[in-house]
């Protein structure tokens, strides 16, 4: 789960990391009022949870009330990489000398957190990592201890940060790690961490992503979740509680278990079709959930055919078959051809139950996928 910049900055500031003065606003009038209070110049920053906002036109520097009004007017309502902007940050402009990067993330290969510092701040850190890995100083953290102070210092000196600000930057990194740990962060980044001509450090941007599996113990963070899916189908999937990803093909795919659903997508592609979605009903799905899954896929106008692939472990084939029959019998005519393949627990019982006047039944995954691909091609031909 991603936090907005302003939400991350409030948390960083509360922990003692210096951030610019800012206000969150939703109208040009409020923006001007905020700017007058803060003093010019100010930055007008779109609050959407995507990277590269500056390049995409979501950040503007304003030197007057007119500038602020015009910038806010332009940015509010704009589409930024698929997200509509409905809030902007009005932030004190900082006159900086240099820009640094500090961040903490989980290195899955090492199985432990890594704290990072670079003097190449203000640009995409993954670009820096690809171009010049040595430009980023890294310290791997023993998660039982947390980041030691000496490690924070070592990263800062190792990155070649100016001596005048080294201890302040080390303090920021150490505090950032503390937040990462106490809030179950997935990533915590300040890019850029600005250094002013007076050798002050200040966090000009803030990224804070939280491990969704840990939200059960962070009620304060869980309630910040305001992800409104721009795609109504993805919103519907979230409401139903499905793992769902919309793609741009025309063969709808329903299955159980991430690896098997991915494999079904790959097979659709392999046999010359195009997958419309990834939909995992999860383990132990009962009839009602199966019906919801069919409703999801039928709601996608791009879908021309559906392949339903269940390999029962905890999920039972007879339950799935009942769900399919129930869902399809509510239609006068089944909206799109559905091919079903059941295997594993109670698959034979399920095959018996399935109403073959509503669906096509296949014995193997390969045959089911080929059938659905052919059905979709027939429609588009």
């Amino acid at each position: 789960m991603k936090l907005h910049e302003y939400q991350a900055k409030r948390r960083f500031a509360d922990a003692g990391i210096p951030v610019p003065t800012f206000e969150l606003v939703e109208t040009p009038e409020a923006a001007v009022e905020a700017a007058e209070g803060i003093g010019y110049p100010v930055a007008v920053k779109a609050q959407v949870k995507v990277g590269g906002r500056g390049k995409a036109g979501g950040i503007e520097i304003a030197n007057s009330a007119e500038d602020v009004r015009a910038a806010t007017d332009r940015i509010l309502g704009m589409d930024l990489k698929g997200y509509t902007v409905d809030q902007v940050l009005i932030e004190e402009g900082v006159d900086f000398a240099t820009e640094l990067y500090v961040g903490v993330t989980m290195d899955r290969t090492a199985g432990r957190p890594v704290a990072m510092v670079s003097t190449e701040g203000g640009v995409d850190i993954e670009e820096v990592a690809a171009r010049d890995p040595d430009a980023i100083a890294r310290e791997y953290v023993d998660p039982a201890f947390g980041l030691h102070h000496y490690q924070a210092r070592r990263a800062v000196y190792g990155a070649g940060v100016d001596r005048e600000v080294a201890s302040d930057v080390a303090a920021v990194l150490h505090t950032l790690y503390g937040l990462f740990e106490s809030s179950d962060g997935a990533d915590a980044e300040i890019n850029p961490l600005m250094v002013t001509n007076d050798d002050e450090v200040i966090a000009a941007d803030a990224v804070f992503n939280i491990d969704e599996d840990a939200l059960f113990r962070h009620a304060d963070l869980a309630e910040l979740e305001d992800e409104r899916h721009e795609d109504p189908l993805e919103q519907k999937a979230a409401d139903y509680g499905f793992d769902y990803v919309r793609l741009d093909g025309n063969v709808g795919i329903i299955g159980n278990g991430a690896g098997l659903v991915m494999t079904t997508l790959d097979l659709v592609d392999h046999y010359g079709g195009t997958p419309a979605n990834f939909l995992d009903v999860g383990g132990g799905a009962k009839a009602a959930r199966i019906a919801n899954a069919l409703d999801m896929v039928f709601s996608d106008d791009n879908v021309e055919s559906v392949v339903f692939n269940i390999f029962g472990g905890i999920t039972r084939g007879d339950e799935v078959a009942r769900g399919i029959n129930e869902a399809l019998s509510t239609f006068d005519e089944v909206p799109k051809p559905v091919t079903v393949r059941l295997a594993g627990t109670n698959a034979a019982e399920g095959m018996e139950i399935l109403d073959t006047s509503l669906v096509t039944v296949e014995d193997t995954l390969e045959a089911a996928v080929q059938d659905a691909v052919a059905a979709a091609q027939e429609v588009t031909a």
Partner: protein, 289 residues
């Protein structure tokens, strides 16, 4: 012979009184697994499916001479349960639980370096040596005893591949689900080394998926040191970047690492044939044996 579990494996079920724990204990017993004890704090002295329950894993292991555990404890308490398993003198801990916070697993992974115990999972279907023992939740009738070692990051995909193998009469020495999370106890490299050292395993099937670098590391290791033929499969060729495909670990990063293409390329370069379909994987194995 087999890998990690056999007829002598004696199992403690951690969380045996919960819905999942109880249900799957019964299935494991039906399969003939030596489930000798359960461990649930506060439930010591009870029995479930005729299996005695103890308050701690150590008590259970000592009293019933157990050497392995299976963990069905919910995510909020799983870190503690796994650490307890690792501190009870067992050879093997199998974690079925899905949804354990990543930082919890980071601490468990650190502890793992300090003990002799092996951890499989979490977020996995477990491990089965057909005809001998099942420590997990997989449907048993698709498995046949044989000489193919199977290792996979995904549960239902394991079933699919095993089904394709069994349909051709290619039985399995042991099948292991290593789990779909970003941080897991046993990576591909360990299982492949173990299969290579097992005289009963004549071929290895490795089912990977997008995300992380585990498959690339395995490819390099296979080229260096593995004598047993390996056949690969990679799920997620059509997965778009930045989208989590169900598993917490199955995501192609924004910078393009963890793609199916890079994994297939690494395996192919290491001389490992990669099947385009589960059926093609079974064909490859049949050709090798």
């Amino acid at each position: 012979m087999s890998v990690y579990v056999d007829d002598d494996t004696r199992v403690v079920v951690q969380g045996i009184t919960g819905g999942e724990g109880s249900f799957h204990t019964e299935r494991m017993l039906e399969y003939g697994t030596n489930v000798v004890a359960g461990a649930v704090p506060g439930r010591g002295g009870q029995t479930i499916h005729d299996v005695p329950v103890y308050d701690t894993v150590r008590d259970a292991a000592e009293a019933e001479d157990a050497n392995a555990s299976v963990v069905f404890v919910p995510p909020a308490f799983a870190e503690d349960a796994l650490l307890e398993g690792l501190d009870s003198g067992l050879d093997l801990v199998v974690a079925i639980t899905e949804g354990i916070p990543t930082q919890d697993m980071s601490r468990v992974k650190k502890r793992l370096e300090e003990v002799e115990t092996r951890l499989i999972g979490p977020n996995c279907p477990g491990i089965i040596t057909p005809g001998a023992a099942k420590l997990g939740i997989m449907p048993t009738d698709i498995f046949q005893a044989g000489s193919v070692g199977v290792v996979s990051r995904s549960g239902t995909l394991t079933y699919q591949i095993v089904d394709n193998l069994s349909a051709r009469g290619l039985g399995q020495s042991t099948a292991i689900g290593i789990g779909g999370d970003p941080i897991i106890g046993t990576p591909f490299v360990d299982t492949i080394r173990a299969f290579d050292a097992d005289p009963a395993t004549d071929a290895i099937v490795m089912c990977g998926e997008i995300g992380g670098e585990d498959e690339e590391q395995a490819a390099a290791m296979i080229e260096e040191e593995i004598k047993t033929p390996v056949v690969g499969f990679i799920a997620g060729r059509t997965a778009p970047p930045g989208k989590r495909m169900g598993h917490a670990g199955a995501i192609v990063s924004g910078s393009g690492t963890g793609t199916a293409a890079s994994k297939i390329e690494a395996l192919s370069a290491a001389g490992v044939p990669v099947g385009e379909t589960p059926e093609a994987v079974a064909d490859e194995v049949a050709n090798l044996l």
